[in-house]
Symmetry: C2
Subunit: 623 residues, 2 copies
């Protein structure tokens, strides 16, 4: 009933699975996407939004590589915001609210239009391994499907257990079944498994809210978008979110339910996402704070369903309800469904290579929440990388690995496989050593050429990126080579309360002053002229501005990154025997033996491996 | 967390539940719709189409009363067909193919826009009854929700068990959980329960089909629509279906799986829908037929998923697949998912009153598949009637009951509660004694005034119906009163090879000849003129044509129906003691005691009650 053998079988059609399937198929692999329910492809389990700080950069990276998350988000967006616009460009982070139903529908239609991609609806209950190599999967009805490689993206479904107050029931997401069988197979193969938890807030009826008591949160005045491609357009119309606050009263009511909270009464033992804490966690950990923000987010263009961001909880429903009724604007709130927590199996990601292939089973890849991460963007980017690498391995090509100085995706995967994670891993800008390099505006420069080289990013995408690069670079050169006279620049300086000059000088120098913006520079007729003659679009102009104004920082980070690159070049053979190196600390020897870093640089990032241990390694390797 | 008490609680948001909730809320009842998953409201479990023979009439009736099924179907239609257009107007049956995803989304948004209607996502696991009256429901998490009335519309979910070949697993629909708890509560209360089964065909990838080997089945050239209201417009663009055939080869392969068929090896004991048989049923029962038709129906505007109408099966997947590959156009077919059968609990509907209220528990209503019916239309219409009647009872108003000569809905409910059903009940035109009266073109005349009287059908709907009625009647009068001269009518007659006339006569007479159509009559200038001056639309013109050409039949059935009405008027007190009537046959006495018919007419339709028994009753009641 299936072809003799697929190149790539993707299990699960969440964000990770959808990207994995699209990438492998677009690269030319005969790909099968098997999922429990074809009506729930790329469901947003939690909030209806993509992006945000560090996560928005990831979506831009996915898009630059040729994944679909950015395009689907754009097409179904109801609001766009560039967060942190007042800070330096390394911090700018795009975020989109999407229409939840349309998001899933658009993903499904995108996948259906992907050649080489087959679909099948069923639960996969086991994997088939022969001599340390994956050879297929088994469905719950007993069918065997053969594949040269398998990407597992089971999300929160593996032995999923839902908690609300003191009640528990099996499920992978509210209203959906849990997935059983795979965990056991993996453990039998020698994998280490763990348990994590995450939670979600109640959904409420917008008709029962009084928005006049909340603060409106409109989208950006000039909305941008995720995708570098022309497949999407910025929004013309947007829907607003709203903001309200909890209060001491609300906290008191919530505390009434603590003895029935699965978090506090011991029935949930696994660890939840520290940075998406539940509301009970927040009032517990920050007992001195007398209020917490709540964002009230519409679930789509037309629906009356709202998502209460910031109120994730697994307290008993009656407590959730009583407490929320005390929040301004929620006096008459009606629930669509209560918040809940879910516990699920994950596999410590130190069991993976940089390609996301497991070390134990050749051809078997893990991506997404199954690796102990949290968040759609983290999942999607892993799926993309696993799908690409599964394809490349099957076709005996070199693997596709992004370095820490090349992409947040590189940081994410390197962190996971090197350090593992004890709690749901979420991306932050602070995790990246070179975040000035890893900006949302230049993900195309960083990644499109690499992806084009392996045949994923198409020619159109590549040419568009080159045009942007060439034109913005030329514009920077123009600023470097063209002078402005005092009578041209001084009006700008005086408006900006900046010291006036008496002599002409290169515009680059004037423009570099922090208080001067591109908008100011456009007042100089030669600048205005240049833009018109060269037909520069907003992205090119913005890019030039960043290159001029942050060139110092960028240069410095580039140098640091180059040093890293050199260490990165020092590969450690997979068979390296650390037990011979007596001068290594005991802990380092143990960790290195377990994790088997691929390079000196990766070794240096393992917690427990000291600079001293790194020197020992360098000496031994003849450096 | 819920209001003190709802007027109406509807359990389940399938076709029955969605109509029930909309009707009760629109009538002004404080209504709650609780369902297992708010993302699957009004899912089409089986084929993506509404209407068809006898079923299309029901959709028109639902629309005339003010339900939403017609509107939602129209808004999401991808193809429209008026079936049986070559037969008399009693047989004309509208049918719409819908976009499956949009259908569910549109229903959800329609419900969200309904005032008085709240939503809640959870499984209901029990009902709460006090002194023979319903007082609420219990959720699986233990919440109690109070209600003055409850409508159960659990569809195929009650203890649902899915079968494919020799595998079984619990579920209410592929990929969804079964519902547990309610059956036990009802049995404890004294209800009789039974088990039925139904099945569905595989879904396949349209990209793997060769449509050039099939026969195209386009929609109507001039598509119409279900709704009488102006909320929807006829389609401008349509998608085609296709047709192919099974063969002896296909049948042989299917037979290979018979020993693993749950239908034939005894693992399914319950009875399936005789008129939607599985393919294995068909080749078993009609062993002499060497082929069966298959309709290949797209699931939406953009999706590549197709539904294989006519190939419903619960044979093992490998057999389904091998057999389908032998069908012309399916040589390379790829499956999205296999067909399957499902067994579920139902409650013999003789336990209900004409209002769909249970006889055992006051305020408790059953609607849809739970009553042993099959089909979206049958479910939706019951939901509508149960929702209306729950509202009316709570507000102490007279119940809303349709007679057999007023609506297919009347036939449906009367059949169910009077005769019960041993196998999934589906509507046919042959079930209606007065089908010449119950046409799809006049459902508005028949039902909108009744619905307007109880406040459901709005004024706009009512006025539109009146205009159509008045204008079409006036047009008929015009034909009755206006003469045509031989030189006007003879050209028409000669074109139609009909005998010529020598004298003027009333147009009504000429027009009554079977071979003459309205199109012909429009060639007469006074007719053309009348239409223009009076601004008649197509519906009014068509209505006049039917009234002229079928007046004889219609008149005759009206007379018969009037007789029925008189019997219908003879009410039997609920407390009537049949044991006193010794002249009744034993069987009649037993059935009458059990079913407690409300009228002599209903008594006469109970199987086992002979005309002689009816005479006994009539004599006893003084007639
Ligand atoms: C209750 C809840 C709360 C959350 N809260 C947050 C939060 O606060 N912040 C945050 O950033 N993220 C949160 N998330 C996490 C976010 O939803 C995930 O990170 C993201 O969806 C993971 O994507 P994924 O592709 O790994 O898995 P998922 O999106 O979970 O998708 C898994 C897919 O695999 C399918 N599947 C599973 N097992 C099988 C099988 N055996 N056979 C076939 N198909 C299978 C499922 O049907 C599903 O399609 C939450 C998730 C849940 C459920
Ligand atoms: C596999 C299959 C094959 C079918 N084949 C045919 C066919 O060939 N021909 C045909 O005419 N019809 C067929 N049907 C039947 C058709 O789908 C039904 O007649 C119609 O959908 C019934 O509508 P309903 O509203 O009664 O129930 P459903 O559409 O089944 O809806 C039931 C709803 O109730 C909810 N629910 C159930 N229990 C609970 C609970 N305890 N708490 C909260 N919510 C609950 C469910 O989530 C669902 O939303 C088939 C159905 C299935 C599943």
């Amino acid at each position: 009933m299936f072809p003799k053998e697929y190149d790539v079988i993707v299990v699960g059609a969440g964000h990770a699975g959808s990207e994995a399937a699209a990438a492998a198929a677009n690269l030319g692999s005969k790909t099968l996407l098997v999922t429990m329910n074809l009506q729930t492809i790329a469901q947003m389990s939690c909030n209806p939004a993509m992006g945000g700080i560090a996560k928005g950069q990831i979506v831009r990276e996915i898009d630059a590589i040729g994944g679909y998350s950015g395009i689907v988000s754009d097409k179904t967006a109801i609001q766009f915001k560039m967060l942190n616009k007042s800070k330096g460009p390394a911090m700018w982070s795009p975020r989109v609210q999407s229409d939840r139903m349309r998001f899933a529908e658009t993903w499904r239609l995108k996948l259906e239009q992907t050649p080489n991609l087959d679909f099948y609806q069923e639960m996969i209950s086991g994997i088939i391994v022969e001599n340390g190599r994956i050879i297929g999967v088994r469905t719950s009805l007993g069918l065997e499907i053969k594949g040269k490689s398998v990407v597992l993206t089971n999300g929160t479904f593996l032995n999923g257990l839902i908690h609300i107050g003191d009640k528990q029931f099996g499920g992978g997401r509210a209203g959906e079944k849990a997935s059983t069988g795979i965990t056991k197979d993996l453990i039998d193969l020698g994998f280490e498994a763990g348990r994590m938890k995450t939670g979600t807030p109640p959904r409420v009826d917008g008709r029962s809210l009084d928005f006049s008591k909340m603060v409106e949160q409109p989208g950006d005045e000039i909305p941008e978008k995720f995708s570098y491609s022309d497949e999407t357009k910025p929004l013309k119309q947007q829907r607003s979110c709203h903001m309200s606050y909890t209060s001491l009263e609300v906290h008191d009511i919530l505390r009434e339910g603590f003895d029935r909270s699965p978090m506090f009464n011991g029935s949930i033992k696994s660890i939840g996402p520290r940075y998406c804490p539940s509301i009970e966690d927040k009032i517990n950990r920050f007992a001195d704070k007398d209020r917490h923000q709540l964002f009230v987010e519409p679930e789509g263009w037309d629906t009356v369903e709202y998502y209460i961001n910031g109120f994730s909880t697994s307290l008993p429903e009656d407590i959730q309800f009583k407490a929320l009724r005390q929040v301004a604007g929620f006096e008459n709130v009606k629930f669509f469904r209560p918040g809940y927590a879910i516990e699920y199996d994950y596999f410590p990601p130190t069991q993976l290579r940089h390609t996301l292939e497991t070390k134990l089973v050749s051809g078997l890849y893990f991506a997404g929440q199954i690796n102990g991460t949290t968040g759609y963007e983290e999942a999607a980017s892993q799926g993309l990388m696993a799908g690409i690498n599964a394809h490349l391995k099957v076709h005996e090509k070199e693997s596709f690995i992004l370095q820490r100085n090349e992409a947040y995706i590189g940081v994410l995967i390197d962190d996971l496989i090197t350090k593992g994670t004890e709690e749901p891993y979420r991306m932050f800008t602070s995790r990246a050593e070179y975040r000035t390099l890893l900006r949302q505006d230049n993900a195309d420069f960083r990644l499109t050429p690499k992806s084009h080289a392996i045949g994923l990013a198409g020619d159109v995408r590549m040419r568009k990126m080159e045009l942007k690069r060439n034109k913005s670079e030329a514009f920077v050169t123009f600023f470097k080579e063209t002078s402005a006279a005092p009578e041209e620049i001084n009006p700008i300086f005086s408006a900006r309360e900046s010291a006036l000059v008496e002599q002409s000088d290169k515009m680059f120098k004037f423009f570099s002053r922090p208080e001067v913006t591109m908008e100011d520079m456009k007042n100089i007729s030669s600048v205005k002229n240049y833009i018109e003659v060269n037909n520069l679009d907003t992205e090119m102009i913005e890019q030039a501005e960043i290159q001029v104004k942050y060139s110092g920082y960028i240069e410095k980070e580039k140098n640091n990154a180059d040093k890293l690159d050199r260490l990165e070049g020092l590969k450690i053979p997979a068979s390296f025997d650390y037990s011979k190196l007596k001068s290594l600390s005991y802990e380092a020897r143990e960790k290195l033996t377990k994790i088997k870093p691929a390079t000196i640089s990766q070794a240096s990032r393992i917690s427990g491996v000291s600079p001293n241990d790194v020197s020992v390694l360098l000496v031994y390797m003849g450096r």
